[in-house]
């Protein structure tokens, strides 16, 4: 079993090595095959491990070697897959494999070197993500965390000759790094609290020691867990694009669309959710940590949904939608319903990857123009793409029986449940905000679909004539994902007794959560469905009649326009953070680098030069003079030998 376990991150990593080193010399079909082989093999191994876990009920773990041994700190290279991580591994390898296959056709126009480079980076990303998920200690998780950040940078800036794209990659990396600082400080805090206990950085042990601290009444330690949890949350906001570190994700749409699908919808951005779910005991015990998580998540979900409504670029709408749905996941986790958050992670991976890949199919056929104001009526030329995109929209809007409905509803019900159990009015506020956000989600989703696929063509006619459904390498993954978006939610159907398989499956990890009352649950279901269907229809009908619909008057108009410019957050960050830092850097460059360091080096050089200028006057070329120096030196040596001159 250990070999199977190791193969999961290793297979894509080997694909990275082969394609990275010699890929540009190989024919493109071979490069594509090598690239897809790794993730598919990893998926196969994941299925094997899944059946093993179901059979024995125990996690599969193995230490491969001791990586660090320094004083208190022992860090083995250990991979561990339990019930929680196998879900993510299956999602990552499964959806990842589909996206790799899709990419073989999508990226066909690249030259050999670009093609190989793309797949090398994509494989490296898979390997890093799998290390993140399967690492048994928080440091291993961080290794994967950094790795996916690196690959995100490399892939966003894939077409690096375009300075805008390169800047988008840079922005993603820098913002991510800020989050990483929070993460690292969180790890340090945990180490500081627990370093005298054995193997304190294992994820399971962090949970165990936090629980022990609570049970033993160590109040100072328990109180100190909150800053640790919040610092880790900061890291998660960077990686999972929450407030305040979400600004990189819309810009990240500069990368190839399969990259957006894989990294920025289905996998990397879920790392923060995974980390929080994994360390759920820590977050539960640290006072107020979970409430903060939920509030950050809800604020992000709501604001991102408002920003998605006026957005006119196809991929950017999906980007803001991703930020919003990630907010939902954090809300789920923050309300204590960790299973719900993970469930939404899974279903979101399906339908968001579907939507992004569908958008890619549109871009592939539509000359890479993503402005939906210039689309319209694509349904006639791209009927199958329109169909799968419709399925994705239904899932995203949360309309039953599609996948998004079940997971989103479970999260909302978790909020309502918390309120009904008397945890405070904040949960009711969050619930209402969640319902409003769901309304907005349905609205903008069907706005997007209507403007792109329905109605009559609005852009140049040649482009519309050229639109076509893509080849099988792209369409088959789309259909598979569409199927998953339909049935993916059926693993956890509420109200029907015995149908909550997913929650039961995760119970050994998260503990059981019984609903407050069936009546409340039914109410929640009905409300969600009504809201989703009505707002979806509203989005559809408004934009079918008036493709240039927007609100301009009054308070709503002001809000709509402000949301259209994304509340000027990027500009604010630019003014408050970026420009002072750049000015400081310029000053440092001028005064320290040029003024001090360069001056010192140049001064040393000119001193040497001046000295040698003087010294070389000795050499006049006269042999007699040289002989004289020789004799003089000999005399001095003799004097030393005879002891006439001291040391």
């Amino acid at each position: 079993m250990e070999k199977v376990l190791l193969l999961i991150p290793l297979a894509p990593f080997l694909g990275f090595l082969v394609n990275g080193l010699i890929g540009r010399k190989l024919p493109k079909p071979l490069v594509g095959f090598i690239a897809c082989f790794g993730p598919v093999l990893a998926f196969y191994c994941a299925v094997a491990i899944f059946s093993e876990i179901l059979r024995t009920g125990e996690p599969v773990a193995h230490s491969y070697y001791t990586w660090i041994q320094a004083g208190d700190l022992t860090l083995p290279f250990r991979l561990l897959i339990d019930r929680l991580s196998i879900v993510l591994v299956l999602v990552v390898t499964g959806v990842g494999s589909l996206i790799h296959i899709y990419s073989t056709l999508y990226m066909e126009h690249e030259d050999a070197w670009g093609y190989a480079r793309y797949f090398a980076y994509l494989n490296l990303f898979m390997a890093s993500m799998l290390v993140l998920i399967t690492g048994s200690s928080i440091v291993m998780l961080f290794i994967g965390w950094e790795g996916v950040g690196l690959c995100s940078y490399l892939l966003i800036g894939f077409w690096y000759t375009n300075p805008d794209y390169a800047n988008a990659g840079k922005k993603a990396f820098v913002v991510n790094r800020i989050g990483d600082l929070g993460f690292v400080l969180g790890v340090f805090t945990i180490w500081y609290l627990f370093h005298d206990r054995p193997e304190a950085l294992e994820l399971a042990n962090i949970n165990k020691y936090a629980q022990a601290a609570l049970d033993n009444g160590e109040l100072a330690t328990v109180a100190a867990l909150t800053p640790a949890a919040l610092l880790l949350l900061l890291g998660a906001t960077g990686k999972s694009a929450q407030i305040p570190l979400y600004v990189w994700l819309p810009d990240a749409m500069a990368g190839p669309t399969p990259v957006s699908a894989l990294i920025h919808a289905a996998t990397m951005v879920t790392a923060g959710v995974y980390m929080t779910a994994r360390l759920h005991v820590l977050f539960e015990i640290a006072p107020h940590a979970l409430v903060v998580v939920a509030c950050v998540g809800m604020a992000t979900a709501f604001l991102a949904a408002t920003m998605a409504v006026p957005e006119n670029d196809l991929k950017k709408v999906l980007a803001y939608s991703t930020i919003s749905q990630l907010g939902y996941m954090f809300v789920g986790v923050g309300s204590g319903a960790f299973g719900a958050g993970v469930f939404h992670l899974m279903t979101h991976a399906f339908f968001k990857a579907l939507l992004f890949l569908g958008a890619g199919a549109v871009l592939h056929a539509f000359d890479n123009v993503g402005d939906i104001r210039q689309m319209g009526g694509l349904r006639e030329k791209m009927p199958r793409t329109a169909l799968i995109f419709f399925v994705g929209c239904l899932a995203l809007a949360g309309i039953p029986p599609f996948a998004g409905f079940f997971s989103k509803d479970e999260i909302l019900f978790g909020l309502l449940n918390n309120f009904l159990h008397g945890h405070g009015p904040v949960w009711l506020i969050l619930y209402v905000a969640g319902v409003i956000t769901a309304a907005l989600t349905a609205f903008y989703t069907f706005r997007l679909f209507t403007l792109a696929f329905l109605g009559s063509p609005r852009g140049p006619i040649e482009r519309h004539d050229h639109a076509h459904d893509a080849g099988p390498a792209m369409m088959i993954p789309l259909f598979i994902l569409a199927g998953l978006s339909l049935v993916g939610g059926w693993v956890n159907v509420p109200l029907i007794p015995g149908a909550q398989n997913f929650s039961h499956y995760l119970e050994p990890i998260f503990g059981a959560h019984g609903p407050a009352s069936h009546a409340a649950e039914a109410f929640g279901l009905a409300l969600s469905t009504a809201v989703a269907v009505s707002c979806a229809y509203a989005g559809y009908s408004v934009h079918l009649r008036n493709p240039t619909f927007s609100i301009r008057e009054g308070l709503a108009g002001a809000w709509y326009q402000l949301a259209g410019v994304k509340y000027r957050v990027d500009e604010a960050y630019e003014r408050v953070f970026v420009q002072p830092i750049m000015a400081g850097a310029a000053a440092l460059w001028e005064f320290v680098d040029v003024g001090v360091i360069d001056w010192a080096v140049n001064a040393a050089a000119s001193a040497a030069s001046a000295t040698s200028e003087r010294v070389r006057r000795i050499q006049v070329g006269l042999v007699n003079q040289y002989a004289f120096y020789l004799a003089g030196g000999a005399v001095i040596v003799v004097m030393f030998v005879l002891g006439l001159v001291g040391e």
């Binding site: 006049v620 070329g621 007699n624």
Partner: protein, 123 residues
């Protein structure tokens, strides 16, 4: 009159004359001759010490033996100084051959053997 001190003085004077010639003469041939002179002065020093300190049949030799510290090599090889001189002469001969060859090569190129005129490698 014929004692160690005077012989050593003679060697020193010869060496000084040779040193003067090396340092202050402009004709390279004279410089080479002065180098030979220095070598011969050193040989003379060696022989003087060999005659007066190594003993074995030389007038005034054995009495100086007591002043010599642990000198087992003196009893075993009383003519060591002479042997050094022979080696030194052989080396001097080789060195002169090489020096003269260089001199001739220089003359062929520059048509001069004056040290003042071959000063191109100035700083």
């Amino acid at each position: 009159m014929f004692n160690l001190t005077n012989c050593l003085i003679l060697s020193a004077v010869l060496f000084a004359i040779g040193a003067y010639g090396v340092l202050a003469r402009r004709n390279l041939l004279v410089v080479l001759m002065s180098v030979e002179l220095m070598l011969n002065a050193a040989n003379l020093t060696l022989l003087s010490f060999s005659r007066w300190f190594a003993g074995g049949g030389a007038p005034g030799g054995s009495t100086a033996l007591a002043a010599w510290p642990s000198a087992t090599w003196v009893t075993r090889a009383p003519d060591a100084g002479h042997i050094f001189v022979l080696i030194s002469m052989a080396i001097a001969a080789c060195e002169v051959a090489v020096g003269l060859a260089l001199l001739i090569a220089l003359f062929r190129v520059r048509q001069t053997v004056s040290t003042a005129e071959v000063a191109e490698l100035r700083g």
